[in-house]
Structures are given as structure tokens and as C-alpha cells.
Symmetry: C2
Subunit: 580 residues, 2 copies
Amino acid sequence: MEHTETLSRYTANFVDELVKSGLSEVVISPGSRSTPIAMTVSEHPEIKQWVIIDERSAAFFALGMANQNKRPVALVCTSGTAAANYFPAIVEAHYSRVPLVVITADRPHELRDVGAPQAIEQIKLYGDYVKWFHELALPEGDTKMLSYVRSKASRAVHTAKEGNAGPVHINFPVREPLIPDFSLANLWGENVKPGYYPTLDGDRKLQANQINQLADKLKSGRKGLIVCGPQTDENLVQAVVHFASAWNLPILADPLSQLRSGEHHKDHVIEGFDAFLRNKSIRKQLKPDFIIRFGAMPVSKAYLFYVKEHKDIPQFIVEENAGYREPAGNATQFIYANPVMLCDDLVRIANDLSFNDSWLKKWQGMNLIAKKHLLAKSEKEDLTEGNAVRYLLDVIPEKSSLYVGNSMAVRDVDTFFMTTPKDITVLANRGANGIDGMVSSGLGAAALGQHVTLLLGDLSFFHDLNGLLAAKHYSLNITILLINNNGGGIFSFLPQANSEKHFESLFGTPSDIEFEKAIDMYDGIYSNVSNAQDLKSALYSSYDRKGLSVIEVKTDRQTNMEWHKGKWRSIENEILANEV
Amino acid sequence: MEHTETLSRYTANFVDELVKSGLSEVVISPGSRSTPIAMTVSEHPEIKQWVIIDERSAAFFALGMANQNKRPVALVCTSGTAAANYFPAIVEAHYSRVPLVVITADRPHELRDVGAPQAIEQIKLYGDYVKWFHELALPEGDTKMLSYVRSKASRAVHTAKEGNAGPVHINFPVREPLIPDFSLANLWGENVKPGYYPTLDGDRKLQANQINQLADKLKSGRKGLIVCGPQTDENLVQAVVHFASAWNLPILADPLSQLRSGEHHKDHVIEGFDAFLRNKSIRKQLKPDFIIRFGAMPVSKAYLFYVKEHKDIPQFIVEENAGYREPAGNATQFIYANPVMLCDDLVRIANDLSFNDSWLKKWQGMNLIAKKHLLAKSEKEDLTEGNAVRYLLDVIPEKSSLYVGNSMAVRDVDTFFMTTPKDITVLANRGANGIDGMVSSGLGAAALGQHVTLLLGDLSFFHDLNGLLAAKHYSLNITILLINNNGGGIFSFLPQANSEKHFESLFGTPSDIEFEKAIDMYDGIYSNVSNAQDLKSALYSSYDRKGLSVIEVKTDRQTNMEWHKGKWRSIENEILANEV
């Protein structure tokens, strides 16, 4: 078979199998070597594509989309450092378990490692950060090889999403000439046997004796604590709530657990724990008999201290497939089972339980005090970071997503995101907690129509400023709430703040960037607000219109820190005074 | 020894040894875990530091600086995806042989792989792209370990620069608390034995019989061709010129060879070869008896065709240390020897040579025809990309550097950079030929005071737009000549251009970005020029003032391509007609 026909059929069968395997969103970065793949993706009638120039942004865009929609998204780039630019998002996707199918075009073998232009070593480029790597054979057109290439596409999509989801890498070498022929009959391989699907993925379920074993350990103490860290399974929310209700236990709900928002009952949901667990004496008072955690480790550092100080109590961590997310160094029993089924099992054997209410009431009482102080407004309060988050959560629309940046943003959400009946999905990049790629992640989450509000700080906004081009290019709808404290706000809370000599240059890094100009360059609507009224008004306006809206709140790092500390002090004082 | 004292002495000895080993420029990206290293670098009296928020830009900034100044530059970042952002520049530094000392702060071992925040696997993070990797021990304060840490700093710097220069990676784990104590007596370890220096690096030199062997092969044919590809050793320029003169041979001088500029004799320098080697018949006429190449493979694709079509003639490639940069797939004798010494050796044995002039004159004749057409101006010519490059080279100041972007920019420089007595250093990132990091590379090259002009296209400018923050923050002086053809101009020259349906979205990628707004945001002076007079005027003004100057030339991709092709046609026609 002639070169162009071979190239065309091989690539078309590969791309078609991605679609048959359930993948229909592809993010392409422009290049020459990736031409056959890019053009074939473009030709396929069932694929939605986005072309994003900056590969680093492209990868985070794909990650945000996969995170929101819970299915794999593919990336296509050319050979060379283009592929290296994907690395930060791939690392994040690895740790936060987001499915990506990374397809890097490559020079053919005779052009590798000989000083040929734009040829770098791409075999296992991402090391252990991908779940699976495969270098495809150079294109061949016989039936056996068309089946082969389908089986790899299929395997890539399935591997990305099964078990702990994550990124996979396919390296795709091609020789020139690179333009496919889309006029070929039977191009999409309608008669080629599909490779590897459909798959049946069984769920891990504990046996009856294992359930009983676990239940006995849990029942031996009345002061049990359910913890739900970052996770995105909506079914788990209801399951954990039932479990807590049946066992009459409090649930520490991380802001990213999805437990703080939605129509489920929230009586047992304790969301203000970060504020009062900051106090050592309170942590001591709240010594539990056991902890059972779903999801990743909560954001709250105070919770980490709490766990460390109670290292002798039994701790159980539930993982659906695999993992070892226990950073406190405590002895832990890992339960590898579908967490929804596990909760159902635990609810089923709760009949003969008798728990008194005092433990739960203790937590609920402290939670109320925390919420009271956190939500209290004084007349002379400016629009602080915390208040901005509060007002955002007041006005954020139903059935929308909040994508939270790392550093101060997620901590402010932890503090000020109180339970709400609103249907809000809370997303973040907590795999590696970087300040990179946030704009692109938020836009990727919004790209299929989901209403998204992105909350982030100025350093994060700057880091992925290039991400805004996608908003302009694709007229994406997003509201970005930008908290600008002119530098690394989080450092004000750390010991580094006491080192005046170095602080500003090394940690404060004031960048004095007037972001309005960049936002304008990308056809965004910019507003700068300095009071609650204007903030709410700007938010509402942004939700009512299409396109890119950026609302900037300028805060002062020092003021912000003092305001936070004041709140925490008030909470601790009242709790300790009341000896709740 | 107590924690903080241990941390302080360990880090200070490490940093001090970098300096003693000859490294005094450090580029830091802000973070918390990197605090001890960053603060210690800041405290050291002999280090110049730059703080650059975006780690991708920071790494290219360091690369540009190391490329210009020919000595290692260090990078410091925090743990997590920050380190992953360095990857593109590290890949480039690997292939273009630029010395970087990459220092990534890390979480201590007990916080790795357990779901702790901002902890990723950083051991061998960059795989085979670094020459050397070492994870430091956690800080210890006894004399043995202070000597140990010095030896690693010293080894890092030396390894980065010896042989084929390149990046090295030191992973530096530290526990909290992170603030060093700079009040300690004898902090910088004045009494600690240095580790590994001074080194004596010998040069590879061919033995007499090897020289004779080589000379015999070269002397057997009169139509020898010297080729000088990208390289940055000024001494090699003079050496190659002497060699060419002694043997009466033409030198094909790549735009990045440093041979086209400077005070050396240029009679033998053929710079217009890319234009006339495009013609197959001319390539055939110019069949050489041998080729001897210094430096990497030239940029010119026409030259690649030339070499491929003469695969049976002896080819010699000179490498100072190691390498296999032969992408044409031809049988080649590699000569691993100091190229300056080799040239001297070949000059020494040139006494009994008798060469006639016809071969050299043939090349010189074609070169003159090429130059004539390329430099010819017609009245109705707009400011094309090529002309813009020409005028730039007319006015670029003495003793300055031209940093050339990839894609169209370097090809235009290949076409229009004619020999000049001006002392111009021509730099590029030709290791992997990416469009990333160019703004930062140019600024890094300028950061120590060198006058730099950066020439690049709009996609490259966009890709590293964040790089401009360093110009604003450090008031760096640079002239950026931005050729905006609104997308991927190079694709107009490729077969892809015929695929109308996909072309604009996949390859043209018009971004319609009004860069002036971004430039203004970074306090740059922007000008938009559309004729030769205004261009020269804008360039002169930029050279006369400080700070960031960006001169944008908007061109039309289609027009540009037709203009180029017209020139090449004229050249071919005249040469073939003359049968020079």
C-alpha cells in the first residue's frame, strides 16, 4: 500500500477507535509533524477539538475538562519541546487521578539521536508519571496492523480511566509526506475489527466477614469521626451522609469533598473544623476513638496536626482501587473497596448500634461557633479575601462549578465555604498543588458548557495568563474571581514573613502587573471591586453575560493575615471559654 | 547540632561552593520549600540573583544567560510541578549543550509518595536529559558532611560545563523549619575543605599519524567543502578561516556559526548557499570531493538535500568531545578532537598543496548572484519578513547579540544575514528548535549587560509572553523585533498549505492578539512599523534607550511566501543560465 494511503488508514483507524472507546474531546497544539493526527481528528465527525498554541496551557485545559466531565480527554502535539511542555499537567493528572490520553507525534527512528531538527527522545518521556506508555509502529496498512493500532487506541482510553484514572502516553512516529487523503473509501475502517472493548470493570467489595471485622473495630468506640477529603464522586456524597446518619457520627467535610453543597442532609457535616482545630487544646479535647476517611487528605493543615497528635487511635482510609494517601505517618488500615458499597454495607449493620449524641453535638457546637465568627461582619471591614469568597458562594449559580486555585484560594474556600443546598461542584488541582495551569484548567472545565467560576490569586493568574487565549478564541464563558494581594499571600502566614530583608524579593514577589491590559487583549470584561456590593454586582453581571469576565479584588497581604488571625482567635476563645 | 544551625551551615557551604566553582548567577522561582536555598543565595555577597515567577520562563532565562556568557547558571525552585516546568528548557539545554545547574527543593522522604501536599517524585525527574543527577542527603552539620555537600556543588558546576556542556540536577530535600540563621559565626565554612576543584580539563588532540591519515584523504580531492554549522566558540571562527585559506576551500557558513560576522577575512565564506542549493541541478553541479563539518548540522534544509544527494563522498564531522550529529544518514568519519587545534594541524600540513581556484570561484560566483537577488529592492516591495531581517542587520549595533527564534525567524536570518565586519554574536535555541521560551532566552542573554536583539515570530512571542515580566522587573534592556504574520508562517511553505479546509484552524492558528497591550502591561515601548524607514528609525531609537522595546512588523503570510519563492526562482534562473 502506498505511503499516503497507509498513513491515512492507520491514523484514521486509530482516531476512530478513540471515539469508539468513549473519547470525543481532543486538544491539539499546532505543529508540522502532528499534521496527520491533527487533520484526522479534525475530519472525524464525532470529535470536538480545541486548538491551543501553548502546550502547557493545552494540557491543563484538557485536564480541567477531564476533571469536570469525568472522562478522558486527548492531547495532540508535535515532536520536540512541545511534548515537554505537557509535563506539569501530566504530573498533576497523575497525582489527582485525571484521565488524559497524551499523543505526541514523533520523528521516525532514522531521525532520532542524530542531530536532526526538532527531534528529541520521546520514549518514556514522562517516566513513571503515566500509567501506560506505548510507542506505535510506523504506519502500516494491512488489516492486522489496522487492528493493532485500534487496539492501542482502545487500550489507551481504557487504561486512562480504569482503576485510579490518570494520564497515558502514546508516541506516534510518522514519516513525510504528512498530509492524509480523506477521499479514500472505507477510510475509517468500518470493516476492521475493534481491538479491546467493551470492558467490564468489576467493583471491589468487602466480604461479609471483612465487613464484620471492620464494624467490630468501629463499634468499639463511640467517638468516631468520618472524614471526607477531596473527591468528585457525587454518589459518594449521599453514601457518606447515610453512613454518618446511621452511625450518628460527625463528618469533617473538606471543601473539595462535594459534601458542603447539594440537597443532601447536612446536619452531620462539619465544615468549620479548620478554624477550631488550630488550637492545640481543642484538638486534645476532640480526641476520637477512630477516624475513617474517604478521599484524599483534607486541605486543612490544622487537621493534619489533629491526626498527628492522635496517632494512637485506629485510622481507616478507604480507597476504591489502590493508593497510600496517608501523610501523617500514622498506622492505618487501608480498605480497598468501592466506597459507596462500603458505606451501604456499614449502614446495613448499624441496626444494633447505640450511640449517644454528645460527641456529635460537641462538634456541631464548635462548628456553629466557628461559623458565627467567620460570617460575622464588622462595619469597618474591607473586602477581604475571606469575605470575597463568602460573597462569591452566596451568588454562585446553581448547577455550576467552582474551580479553586491553590495557595490562599483553596484555604480561603476551606474557611468560608459553608454548607449550602446549592448544587455546586468544587474542583481543584490538588494532586501536586501547583500554581500553574489554573486559568486553562478552569476554561477546560467550562468548555463543554458548564458554568464555571475560577477563584485564584494573582501569582496563579499570572503563571497561566496565556490560558486566556482559549477564552477569546473559543468564546468560552467563565467568571474569574482574581484575588490580587500583589504577590505570594500565603507567605505572609509563614515564618518567612519575619525575614524582612529577603521577604519582598524572594517571597512577596510583588509583580505590580495591571492585569486589566492582558484581559482586554483577550477580549475579556474586567472589573475592579473594593466593596461587597460591587463584588456581588460584578459577579451577577458576569453570570448574566457570555464570554470571559475577570473580577479583580485587590487586598493587602498584611491586613488579610491579621484579619484571619483575629477570626481564629475569637473562635478559639469562645470555644475554650464555653468548654463546649 | 541543632536543626536551624545544621540547615544554615549545610546550605551555606553548598551555595558557597557553587561560587568557588565559578558559578555566580542564580535564577530563583518563589516558593516555600526552597526558602533555605533561596535565602542563602540572596545572602551570599558574590551571587547575582533574579527572581522569576514562572518556572518555565525562569529556566529559559537561565539558558539564555548561560548561552551568552558561556558559563553555568543555577536554577532554584520549590517542590512539585514547579520543577516540572523546568523540563522544556532542560531538554533544550541538553541538546544545545548549555550548562545549567538545576536545584530543586524537595519534601523530606517521610513526606514522599504518601499524599502529602506539593510532594511529587523528583528523583531522576528529568531522566536522561541531565548529564548528572544527585539527591543530597538531608542537611547535616558535621565537618564530613559539610565537605560532602561542597563536593556535590563543585561536581555539579564542573559536570555542567565539562565535555559537552549541559544541565545537571541536584535534588535538595529539607525539613521544616526552613529559615536559616545568617548570624552564625563562620557560616560560609571558611575552614571547610573544598571538594573537587580546581580541575584540569585536557584537550583532545590527534596524533601525527592520525593527522596525516586525515590529510591524505582530504588531499585526494580538490573540491573540498568546509561547512560550519551552529557553534559559539569565537576561536573556532579564526581557525576555520585559516584552514579554508590554507587549503583554498569554500566555507558554507551557517547563520549561527559566528562566521558571517566579525573582522576575520570573509573571502571564502559562502553565506547564500541555502538559496541556490534549493535547485536540484545546481546541487548536482556542486558535487564535492569531500565535506568536513564543524559544529552542528546547518539550519538549511537545502543543504540537507545536498548532503543526501552526495552520500557517496567522504564526510568528516569534527566534535570536540562526543556526539553523533549526522542526520542525513551518510557514512561519516567522526573526528573527536579540539577543532581549533585540528584546524591548526591541517594548516600546518598544507604547504605542499596545490589547489586550483575554479571550485572556490564557482561557489563564490553563485554566492554573489544569490546575494545580488536577495538584496535587490523593487519599488513596490512592502516590508517583508526578509527585508525586515536585512534592515535589522544593517543597524544592529557593534558588539551586540542577535538571539534568533526558530521557525521562520532563523530561516530568514539564514537567507538574509550577509557577511559583515560587525562584531555580532548570533545565538539561538537549536537543540530542539522549539517555539517556547524565546523571550526569556533573549532576556537572559541581555541580563548581564550585553546588548541583545531578539528576532522572533508571533507564535513564539505569544508562547513566552510571561517572559516579559523579567524585563519589567529588572529593567532589562532588549530590542525585540516581532514579525507578526498572524500565525504559523512556516506552514505556508509546507504541503499543509494546500489543505484549505483545515489550514487556518490547525496550522494558520491566527491568534489576532494585539500584543501592544501586553507590552504596555510590562512597561515596554511598542512600535508598529510598515516600511523600511520606520523600521530602521524604530530600531535606532530602541538601541538608544533603556528598557524593553518591541517593534512589530505585520506581514502577510501568503505575500511573504510568494516573495521568497520569487527571489529563489530569480537566483536559480540566473545561475543555471550562466552555468557558472
